[in-house]
């Protein structure tokens, strides 16, 4: 299978220019494949020797740490290579049908009204007929007025969300889905100003009924010369997404994408059932554990009536657990449990009613209330009334808080969520990646359309940029922990690798310190992670490094990738924090400290933000100075010193990016522009590197 099959209409139907583009693309694809294979072979050649013959056991902690880091990098290169194997670029796009109904959903929370106005006005100018909705999670009356003024729709959360978990942007979109009806949805962040032809270029892909979404790039129009914060992600919104597209694993990135409503509803339903099964499992496990405790307490208190009723619940709980494992439909399972709970409550209710009737007969002055006692006796026979007295709203079993919770939760109505069906995944702070993965798992197709069709705003200060990067990283890692692509049912192997590849890159944070500190300890203490800086070492390492860089150059041909490479190393403290905080949110139930991105540019030089990197740079500088002094004075072996100095300087060049970013000050002209349009950005531009 080559990319040729993916070209729309086949190469024969292309124009001459398009045929040229197609031929160039194929050449590049073959070159990439050759380099991937050579890189893999050289990696094995180098790393096998490192494992077998180079570890310096005298300094084993450093030696093993470096080997682990190099192994991580090799796996990273393999994952990258495998996902790049089917790199292709779609040439042209299929014609749309013409009668597609589209809702444009503009998600905003607390952005300035004028910024959203520009976005909405651009959406209202779309060539393809569509309905525009500003989905305002901030419930801002000025936003509502602006929407009315320009003739855009305006949506806020419905009453059902009152007091329920709001699920941030995913919740905002779910709410909007319930209030709109178009077959397709163009989803935009508040700052994304679209070109009028975005729908004409993307709707045609949906003629294939299996296509669930079409993603287009994110491009930021306010990025200053040199891109100090690494905002543009041309590698991600170019070759990486194009390559993932080749494996039918393009990512949905939360904005600038068109989605098929039917596919969203489908994953909503499937996940509803799966989540329900999972929740029931947890609830039932918990119930069995708690029931023992409850029974002991009741026994001690001598509450024999309740004890009998609670004991009777054991069987339906066991039955429900068994049923869950053997695939009994959930509604039936929960119904049986609820019936049994009612039956156990029945004996208590019967006894109570009989006692009421007896008491009434004994009350002086009420002897003539014959019809009330008759009615009570009749109640015992009337199944509907008995039902109401034993239902979970009135059941005497409610006396036990644990059982009350159980009665409420072992059901299919999800009494604790605003809406039973969640078409956008709510398992992560970035809803987009998990949503796309669920679609792929159900056999849907995705498309990455490489043309920039919307222009947005990037953060304009380091603090905001770092917060944004942290949030994406956390979201990705949360998905890795909650719905790991390797165990998620329904994905194809290469889709699993494509998803995992992105998750794996965020783990780089743990290995970056090894690469940073290894030359420093070498220069300061003379520690060496390898036995000898021999010619064999260089003979194996240098070709590997060169081919690695060549591969990167060919893949990133024509785009600037250096900024991204710098940031992917320099932001290592952020990557580490993303993994640890996502871990505690998923496994320890801690809330992610949700950062509200500030609306105005944060002024001043923010050295506090980059203190870890600064410390590293100081240590490296001292190490280099000591190394150079030794070299001049002729103390010690010169070769290791030279290697470590070069390595340390290279590290410092990579790290320096955050220093210049921290000192970056927009000029006055830009400042004036910023005053007008400054935004909280929900958008996603991939990681620094990829």
């Amino acid at each position: 299978m080559s990319a040729a099959t993916e070209v729309i209409g086949g190469p024969d139907l292309l124009t001459t220019t398009e045929q040229h583009a197609w031929r160039r693309m194929m050449t590049r694809q073959y070159l990439i494949r050759i380099l991937i294979l050579v890189n893999f072979a050289l990696g094995i050649y180098y790393l096998s020797w490192r494992y077998a013959a180079s570890i310096n056991w005298d300094y084993w902690p450093l030696a093993l740490a470096l080997l682990a880091a190099e192994t991580y990098s090799f796996i990273d290169a393999c994952l990258f290579g495998s996902s790049m194997w089917r790199w292709h670029r779609r040439i042209g796009s299929p014609a749309k049908q013409g009668d597609e109904t589209v809702d444009v959903l503009i998600c905003c929370y607390n952005e300035p009204v004028e910024l959203v106005r520009e976005t909405a006005e651009a959406a209202l100018r779309l060539k393809h007929p569509s309905r525009v909705y500003i989905c305002d999670d901030g419930n801002n009356p000025e936003m509502r007025a602006m929407a009315a003024e320009i003739g855009s729709g305006y949506l806020t959360r419905s009453a059902a969300w009152q007091g329920q978990d709001r699920h941030a942007k995913a919740g905002n979109l779910i709410n909007a889905l319930e209030q709109t009806e178009g077959d397709f949805l163009l989803i935009l962040d508040a700052d994304q100003v679209v070109l009028p032809e975005i729908l004409d270029e993307t709707l045609g892909y949906f003629r294939d009924p299996k296509v669930a979404f079409v993603q287009t790039p994110q491009w930021f129009k306010n990025v200053p010369e040199g891109d100090p914060f690494g905002s543009q992600a041309p590698l991600f919104y170019g070759p990486i997404q194009e390559a993932k597209d080749g494996w039918n694993a393009a990512f949905f990135c939360g904005s600038n994408a068109v989605l098929r409503r039917e596919a969203l509803s489908h994953i909503g339903l499937v996940n509803y059932v799966r989540d329900l099964r999972r929740q029931l499992q947890a609830i039932l496990n918990e119930a069995t554990r708690r029931l023992n405790q409850v029974e002991r307490d009741l026994d001690r208190r001598g509450d024999l009536e309740l004890l009998a009723a609670v004991r009777a619940l054991r069987e339906p709980i066991a039955e429900a657990r068994h049923g869950l494992n053997s695939g009994v439909p959930l509604a039936e399972l929960t119904y049986r449990f609820q019936r049994q709970a009612q039956a156990s409550a029945r004996s208590i209710v019967d006894a109570d009613l009989a006692s009421i009737a007896r008491d009434l007969n004994d009350i002086p002055g009420l002897e003539d209330l014959g019809d009330v006692t008759d009615r009570l006796t009749a109640l015992l026979e009337d199944p509907e009334a008995a039902d109401r007295l034993t239902s979970r709203q009135a059941s005497p079993l409610q006396a036990i808080a644990e059982i009350r919770e159980l009665l409420l939760r072992v059901d299919v109505d999800r009494a604790f969520e605003a809406t039973a069906i969640m078409p956008f995944s709510t398992i992560s702070v970035t809803e987009d990646m998990a949503t796309a993965m669920r679609m792929h798992a159900l056999g849907y197709k995705s498309v990455f359309h490489s043309k920039i069709l919307a222009h947005g705003l990037a953060p304009e200060d380091l603090r905001t940029a770092l917060q944004q990067r942290l949030r994406w990283a956390q979201g990705t890692i949360q998905v890795m922990f909650r719905e790991n692509p390797f165990t998620f049912p329904g994905l194809r192997l290469m889709q699993r690798l494509a998803y995992f590849s992105t998750m794996w890159t965020y783990l780089a944070g743990f290995f970056a310190p090894v690469y940073l500190l290894s030359p420093a300890v070498g220069l300061l203490f003379g520690w060496s992670p390898v036995e000898a800086w021999s010619s064999e070492f260089f003979g194996r390492l240098i070709p590997y490094l060169i081919v690695n860089q060549l591969l990167f150059i060919v893949i990133g041909w024509g785009i600037t990738t250096w900024r991204g490479q710098q940031y992917s190393l320099a932001l290592f403290p952020i990557w580490i924090k993303s993994v640890t905080s996502a871990f505690s949110s998923v496994f320890l139930g801690k809330k992610l400290g949700f950062v509200v991105t500030p609306k105005t540019r944060q002024g001043g030089v923010s050295l506090q933000l980059i203190r870890v990197q600064l410390i590293c740079m100081v240590v490296l500088t001292v190490a280099v100075l000591i190394g150079l002094t030794r070299l001049v004075l002729g103390i010690g072996e010169p070769v290791p010193i030279v290697i470590n100095v070069v390595w340390a300087v290279f590290d410092m060049i990579l790290l320096s990016v955050v220093v210049s970013a921290a000192f970056h000050q927009p000029d006055d002209e830009q400042e004036a522009l910023l005053e007008e349009s400054f935004a909280t950005l929900h958008g996603r531009a991939g990681t620094g590197g990829r």
Partner: protein, 118 residues
């Protein structure tokens, strides 16, 4: 584990007691409430008003407790009136037609007025 019920008794005037209940009037709090009724009757404050404003939930055992309280009060020559019941209790009274036995006073004051007029 079981939620305890809150019981406060007051003596607005001679022979009258106001019992304020709060929380869940159910099988696990029944005994305690019955005891409270028996206590005020033994104290010759047998014209009772039960303030249900704080009661969020009532079940058949709770109803039974109130009827038994009425019996205790009447047998001692007094009475038991209910005031300020919420939606869930009212629905249960109507289901069991006990609303024909008790008059459900909207407020404690109205229930007390009846006694004072006696």
């Amino acid at each position: 584990m079981a939620t305890r019920i809150g019981i406060e008794t007051e003596q607005p005037s001679d022979g009258i007691s106001l019992v304020r209940l709060s929380g869940r009037l159910d099988i696990s709090s029944a005994a305690e409430v019955k005891q409270a009724f028996a206590g005020v009757v033994a104290d010759h404050r047998n014209r009772i008003v039960v303030d249900l404003a704080g009661v969020t939930f009532i079940d058949s055992s709770g109803l039974s407790t109130l009827v038994s309280g009425l019996r205790t009060a009447r047998q001692a020559g007094g009475d038991l009136r209910l005031a300020a019941a919420g939606a869930q209790p009212v629905a249960l009274f109507s289901l069991t037609s006990l609303d024909q036995v008790f008059r459900l006073y909207p407020t404690v004051e109205e229930a007390l007025d009846g006694y004072q007029g006696k």
